[in-house]
Amino acid sequence: MNSANFEFLANLLLKKSGHVLSPEKGYLLDSRLGPIARKEGLSSVEELVQSMRTGNDQRLSWAVTEAMTTNETFFFRDRTPFDLFKSEVIPHLAENRRPGSKARIWCAAASAGQEPYSLAMILREERSALRGVQMDILASDISDKVIEKAKAGLYSQFEVQRGLPVQLLVKYFQKQGDLWQVDPSLRQNISFKTFNLLNSFQTLGTFDVVFCRNVLIYFNQQTKTDILNRIASRLAPDGFLFLGAAETVLGLTDAFEPVAGKRGLYKRKAIAQAKVA
């Protein structure tokens, strides 16, 4: 791809989704954007970008932005965060929230739903430990496609064998033809929404737990810092933040600190808490 086109594309992604398109990721362009080019009746990705530069087709730039997201995910991914959710978060909320009150979890890059459904299964298994505290989940992602899939709760045989213990498959899924569908009762406490992390969080309300995993890796420093600070402002003073295994708050913000010995788990910093109180 010529460098003017590459630069145009990089700027577009930065503006639309915050993604950094570095030259090393150039290899993704053909596989991700080729299908869109063909659908538009264009012979190459080069031509697609060229036509985007001349026209101002919002629908097309959106399709390109969405196609450049990486939606890789699986049930109980990395295990530890879900173990910590069970051993740290649930007991804390059971202790510090009134029975009958609602606590809210936000999966901020939920992809096709494996992460929120994993949490929903834990909540169900641990119902008695919650001591009457209700937990609702907001599952959001920038991509309509994955949110639609998450809503449908339909997974391939391959997907249900990645990370999901067979006992939970039997308990919470039904077979639909070649696919497996999440039990409707599990979807009850989850709401699904298309949402871009670059937009204001104001309309989302506040949360007790935020899962923002394996998405910061796509942003530049400034965007990471901005998103983390805005998450802090939406999180209860004693709330929890989970990041992906390759992500951290260190060097990005003072709003959070890692919880010692608990990989991937962060809490709001005491100073920040004092300011809020």
């Binding site: 045989q157 391959f158 064998q161 990645r162 990370g163 213990p165 067979v166 006992q167 498959l169 039997v170 039904q174 077979k175």
Partner: protein
């Protein structure tokens, strides 16, 4: 080194599974049917068993029920690995004492994920 007994009537599947398992630092023993598998278990109980369902002589589910009645037969971690992929078969396997269940086709990702699930690796 942990031992894994691979029970399948297809030689090709046994070879593929063993290659993956050996990469996971298991030493593999093979059996072509449930009866052979039971004989091998009576000689020495393996830590893990990867078990097909449909086989001549003795099928996987009958083997599993027999195994769990043997002395020491509660020890091996049993992972079914079969083309049977409906809820009925899976629940029957779990009821008979299977620890995990792989629906074929499988690859090394699925095999290692399932073995990790039951604490074998």
């Amino acid at each position: 080194m942990k031992h894994c007994l691979v029970v399948d009537d297809s030689r090709v599947i046994r070879k593929v599974a063993c290659r993956i398992l050996e990469d996971m630092e298991f030493s593999c023993i093979e059996a072509e049917d449930g009866q052979q598998a039971l004989d091998k278990c009576r000689q020495a109980m393996p830590e893990a068993i990867l078990l097909d369902w449909n086989m001549p002589v003795m099928n996987g589910i009958d083997f599993l029920k027999a195994l769990r009645n043997e002395s020491g037969g509660d020890k091996p971690v049993v992972v079914f690995c079969t083309t049977e992929n409906d809820m009925g078969h899976i629940t029957e396997a779990l009821r008979a004492g299977a620890n995990e269940y792989i629906m074929k086709p499988f690859d090394s990702d699925i095999l290692s994920a399932k073995f990790a699930e039951v604490g074998l690796i």
